[in-house]
Symmetry: C2
Subunit: 332 residues, 2 copies
DNA sequence: AGACTTTTTGGAATCGATTCCAATCAGTCT
DNA sequence: AGACTGATTGGAATCGATTCCAAAAAGTCT
C-alpha cells in the first residue's frame, strides 16, 4: 500500500483534486458538505501532503537551517532555542547541523540553502572566510549570530564582545589586580575582539598586559589547564587571568588550585558566557552573561524579513547588552 | 534574475534537458562534447538543481533528522557526531532538532518523516509514550539511540544501563561503602534501568539501599544540589551516592563539600556518562563511559538498511559495552 | 555499399500538490 | 420566469528534475 495522493483522496471523497487542495489549505471557498467528505477521506486514507511536491509548487519549504562548529556551546544552543521558538510562531521549523569546523561539510550544508532545501540559514560560527560569509549574506537569506563579520552588508546579532571584555577586565583592575593575563582564542573573531577589549582596559589603567596566551586550536577545559600551566611558570606571576570562555576559565582555576595557589587570593580568574560551568566551578566564576535567547529571537525577526519581504534586506549589526556577573573567582 | 532551471541550461548549451540531466547525474551515455557544453552552461548560469523537484521525482531526500529533548547532552551530541560521520559516507546529511520535551513540537518534527521531508529519523530522547515509538518504528525508518524502548519490534542502540549501574554500584561497595544512596531520574527509561541495577547490586551485597531520591523534573546541576541537600538531612548519613549523570553528581559533590564534608572521605560519589563535567569536578568523578560515537555509527548502519533494503527491517536492540572509569570521587 | 550494432540524443511523460480559469450551481431580485 | 450575482466546483496547467522510449547518429562488419 503505497502513499496516498491528493488524487486518491479526491476519488475517495468524490470530489476534484482542486477541492481537496482547497480543504487542505483552509480556503473558504468550500462547502461544508465537501469539506466533510474530504476530511473523512483524508482520515480514512491517512493522507499527508508530500513535502517535496508542495515545496516545489510553493517555492518554499518553511524550514531553516542553523550551522555551528559544534553543538555543545551553551550560548549557541540557547540562542538556537530562542530562534527556534520565534520561528515556530511563524510556522517555520528550525534544524541545526554541526560543521565540526570542516569547510567542505559546511559548504555542503550551505548548498542546502542554494538548492532550496531550506528557506534560510543562520550561521553561529562559520568556518569559511569572512569574505565568503559576506558574499553569501549579500545574495541569500542568511543571518549571523554570535560570531558576526565586520561588515554592514550582512546582518548579524551579537553582543559587543570588545566592550564586554573591556568591562570584565576593568572589574579585575577595580578589585585590585595589576598584573593582568589573558587566555584567548585567536581563531574566533569574537576572541580577537575580546583581546582588544582586554588590551584597551589595561591601557586605560596604565597597565601593560602582562601576558597574552592565545590558543590556536581547541578552546576547552584541557586547553585552559595547559595554558594556565604556562602562566604558572612565569615570574612574577600574574594576579588576574581573563579567559575567553567559562570552560577555559574552569580549567584555569583548576590548574591554579592544584598548584596550591588560591583563587582569587593569589590569582583572580574571570570567564565569559555565564554557562553552567561558571556555577560548577569552585570558586564560582565571575563572567559575562550574554542574552543568548533574545539574540536568537532577534535573529529570526531579521531573517524572516529577509525571506519574505521583497526589498526587506536588513543590513548591519545589532548588539544586545551583556551583563557582568560577579562571583567568587574575582572577589571574596 | 530568477533561478536557472534545466531548461535554461539545455537552451544555453544547445542540447536537450535529457542530456543536461544525464550530465548532472554522471550517466556514461553522454559524448565528451555534450558534457563539456553542459558543464559550461551550468557554470555560466550558476545552475543548481532544485532540491524539491529532484526529491519529488526521486522519492527521497538524502536527509536524516535526529530528535532530542535538548542538545546539551554530551553523550547525545557525540552519538550524533558518530551518526553524522557515518551518514556522510553514504551521502546523507544529518540534521538535529531539539524538542524541549514538548510533545506537540515532537509530533511536528516526526511529521517531517511522514511527509517525506526526510528519509529517516533518529530518536535520542523521545517525549511520546513508548507505544507510540514502537508503532512509529514499526512502519517507518526510525532508529533509537540512548533511550530505547523495551521491544523487539523496533531497533535501538544503547548500553546496558542496568548492568552499568550495577557495575558502578558494586564498585562503591567494593571500596567500602555500606549505606548506599542514589539520585536518579524517574522520567527517563534509562533512569529506571539504572535504578534497577543499583538495587540489584545492593541486594547482591546484602545491603538495603538506604535512599532513593528521584527527580521528576529537571535533572541538572541544580537538581543535584537540591537533592543532595535532602540527603544531608538524613541520619545516619549515606556513605555513597550514585548519581544518574555527571552533571547531577557534580551538583551533589558541590553540596556535600560546601557542607564541610569530604568526598570521598565522608561520602563517595559516582556519576554517569563520562562527560567533561566528570573531569571538571573536584575531586574528579568516577563514572561510566558510554561508546557514544560508535553507538551513532551503528545506528546509521541499521537505519541505512531500513531505508534502502526492501525487507531489511532490522529489529531488536544492540547493547555496546560500557566502561567503568574510576577517579577520585570514590577512591583516594 | 548495405546491413547491423552501439552510442548518443531529443522530447514526452512523470512525480504530487497548488492555482487559475471557466463552468456550474444556488440564491436573489424584479 | 428570467436575469443576475455570488458561491462552489472541476480540471488543466504548472513547478523543475528525472527517466523512459523511440529516433537519429556514428561505428562496425562483411
Amino acid at each position: 500500500m503505497a502513499r496516498a495522493t491528493v488524487q486518491d483522496v479526491a476519488k475517495t471523497a468524490g470530489v476534484s483534486v482542486g477541492t481537496v487542495s482547497r480543504v487542505l489549505n483552509g480556503s473558504p471557498a468550500v462547502s461544508a458538505a465537501s469539506k466533510e467528505k474530504v476530511t473523512g477521506a483524508i482520515r480514512k486514507l491517512n493522507y499527508r501532503p508530500l513535502a517535496s511536491a508542495r515545496d516545489l509548487r510553493r517555492d518554499r519549504t518553511m524550514r531553516i537551517l542553523a550551522l555551528a562548529k559544534n553543538l555543545n556551546s551553551p550560548v549557541i544552543s540557547e540562542a538556537f532555542r530562542g530562534f527556534g521558538d520565534a520561528a515556530a510562531l511563524s510556522g517555520y521549523v528550525s534544524l541545526i547541523a554541526p560543521t565540526s569546523g570542516d569547510l567542505e561539510r559546511e559548504q555542503q550544508l550551505v548548498d542546502m540553502l542554494r538548492n532550496g532545501s531550506v528557506d534560510g540559514l543562520i550561521l553561529f560560527s562559520p568556518t569559511m572566510p569572512d569574505a565568503d560569509v559576506e558574499a553569501l549574506a549579500e545574495q541569500l537569506s542568511v543571518v549571523q549570530v554570535c560570531e558576526i563579520v565586520d561588515s554592514e552588508a550582512a546582518f548579524g546579532v551579537s553582543i559587543d564582545d570588545r566592550q564586554a571584555a573591556f568591562d570584565i577586565t576593568r572589574h579585575l583592575i577595580e578589585t585590585g589586580s595589576r598584573r593582568l593575563a589573558m587566555i584567548g582564542n585567536r581563531l574566533a573573531r569574537s576572541g580577537r575582539l575580546r583581546e582588544e577589549g582586554f588590551r584597551a582596559a589595561a591601557a586605560e589603567a596604565g597597565l601593560a598586559p602582562e601576558h597574552l596566551l592565545l590558543a590556536d586550536g581547541e578552546f576547552d577545559f584541557h586547553a585552559g589547564r595547559r595554558l594556565a600551566k604556562e602562566l604558572l611558570h612565569l615570574d612574577p606571576l600574574p594576579d588576574a587571568v581573563f579567559c575567553g570562555s567559562d570552560t577555559v576559565a574552569a580549567g584555569c582555576v583548576r590548574e591554579i588550585t592544584d598548584a596550591g595557589l588560591r583563587v582569587p587570593g593569589d590569582i583572580a580568574v574571570a570567564g565569559f558566557d555565564d554557562s553552567v560551568q561558571a556555577e560548577m566551578c569552585v570558586p564560582e566564576l565571575t563572567t559575562i552573561r550574554q542574552p543568548a535567547y533574545e539574540m536568537g529571537q532577534v535573529a529570526f525577526e531579521a531573517l524572516f524579513a529577509r525571506m519574505t519581504g521583497p526589498g526587506g534586506h536588513r543590513r548591519g549589526r545589532i548588539f544586545l547588552s551583556h551583563e557582568l556577573v560577579v562571583r567568587g573567582s574575582t572577589k571574596d
